[in-house]
């Protein structure tokens, strides 16, 4: 893997409480997490374990109640201003009036970065959409829309890619295929924080899987996935892969018990 430029994240003693009608809810509690530049880290856990909250706090969309987050030694707000983050959400949230290419360029457009059409076209080719650059979102399948959302995030050339269950809304077959494709698309030149509740997806993609538990959300395990890269889809039938799956499943079930 190539050495990366930057994109290190340090989460220190972060907690997040929400006020709700049922009273004060603790989404995450006392989370410490260090992500090295260029590392692919998955946050794995059941619904309600606060993995999405943690992702949003890292990306500056949410303030922690206590604790701090730093990015490359600076504050999250500085990192947002420096446009270091690229988000991909569960829904593609494409603009129906923009073509695939124009959607991929949206974020560059709104921040006034011009003249990068060629690079965006190259990205669209990487995600397998070069024949669809002039299509509208309504003409695409769910999987293709999510590819556009990925290209839109990559178009910023972000140091940290934040993905919140990006394939969760897709059917199982498309989901697996996109997971394998992401292996090929991720160049190791940026860090990735990948929220998922799929054990197989986490093992396939990650350098490291952080297992979280529910109520309150906290980190219960941090597992390095030592499967050599480059990986391909066939790695899923290998012994080490299954061993990691079993280990993570055990950790999650231990949490639930």
């Amino acid at each position: 893997m190539e050495p990366s430029r930057a994109g290190g994240v340090a989460v220190r003693a972060v907690s997040k409480q929400f006020e709700s009608r049922a009273g004060r809810q603790t989404a995450i509690s006392g989370v410490d997490l260090k992500i090295a530049p260029g590392q692919f880290v998955s946050l794995l856990g059941p619904s309600g374990c606060g993995k999405t909250s943690l992702l949003r706090i890292i990306g500056g969309l949410m303030e922690p109640s206590t604790g701090t987050v730093s990015v490359d030694g600076g504050s999250v707000a500085d990192a947002v201003r420096a446009r270091k983050f690229g988000f991909v959400f569960q829904d593609a949230t494409l603009l129906p009036w923009r073509t695939v290419r124009a959607n991929a360029m949206l974020l560059l457009d709104v921040i006034g970065r011009r003249g990068e059409e060629a690079r965006v076209d190259a990205l669209l080719e990487t995600v397998g959409l070069s024949d669809f650059t002039n299509h509208y979102p309504a003409q695409l399948s769910g999987g293709m829309r999510q590819r556009v959302a990925l290209a839109r995030a990559l178009a910023l050339d972000p140091e940290i890619l934040l993905m919140d269950e990006p394939f969760a809304a897709l059917d199982a077959i498309t989901r697996e295929r996109l997971g394998v494709e992401l292996l090929g698309i991720w160049d190791g030149a940026r860090s990735v924080v990948f929220v998922t509740h799929s054990i197989a997806e986490a093992v396939l993609l990650s350098d490291r899987v952080v297992v979280m538990s529910t109520s309150p959300g906290r980190i219960v395990a941090d597992v390095d996935i030592e499967i050599a890269r480059p990986r391909s889809g066939s790695v899923r039938s290998s012994e080490p892969f299954k061993a990691y799956e079993d280990q993570l499943r055990g950790l999650i079930e231990g949490v639930r018990a």
Binding site: F87, L107, D109, V110
Partner: protein
Amino acid sequence: MATTQPAPLQRPGRSAPPPSASARQRARRANPGSWLLPGGLIVLLIVAWQLITQYTHWVQPYVLPQPWDVVARMAQDPSMLFGSFRVTLTEVLVGFVLGSLIGVLIALPIAYSPSVRNTLYPLIIASQAIPKIAIAPLLVVWLGLGWTPKLTVVALMVFFPVAMTSVQGFSSVDRNLIDLLRSVYAPQWQVFLKVRLPHALPHIFSGLKIGITLAVVGAVVGEWVGANSGLGYLLLHANSMLDTTLLYASLVLLVVMGVVLFALMEIIERVLMPWQEPQRPPPVTA
């Protein structure tokens, strides 16, 4: 550096390029079937009306004149009828533009600020609870007999649906999309211009389409309380003279005005928002 290439995609739809805007418009125009049924029904009703009034004595002519007589009346005195038409049309258009502008502009602070929304909503809804016909005479007292009271009534009728649908449009942007734009520190005006406004357009247009038909009603109401020209005035005048053919002639012109303006709004909507296209090629599967 990973060397795995993305798996090849299945592209069953790749032989069909996306249709160009003009091709899509042509496809839409080449569908006369949608006009056949409603058009046929209207023709059928008019023919029945003509036959009943011409060959039976079920209704007196001063209650229901023959359609043909109404047309003849229009041809007989075109300058008066079309002069009135022009006056009312001007009131409708100017009042509509004013009311829509106010509606959209008032929707902006409401959509952006919950406290403004809470402050203005009761007032706006109260302004709609008052029947326009009830305050129209008051407007004449305040504003005199010129254009202003008529334009005010029209604008009052139009601004409400436009404001309500615009608020809905400006606030209906997907939460994730707004988060995405926040995450790249996008300037607010860029977000408004490139996301919120286009996102709100279909909503605004549904308000404008309601508004344009209400504008015609508003103009007539405005003319009823104090005017010496316009189709609404002509309507009252004909009524007082028991001149039913003239009354129907004015009514027909009002209906034509309303329908044509509504159709015009739909055309503008389609030109501005070709992506709101009902006829789309089937989705390509990946």
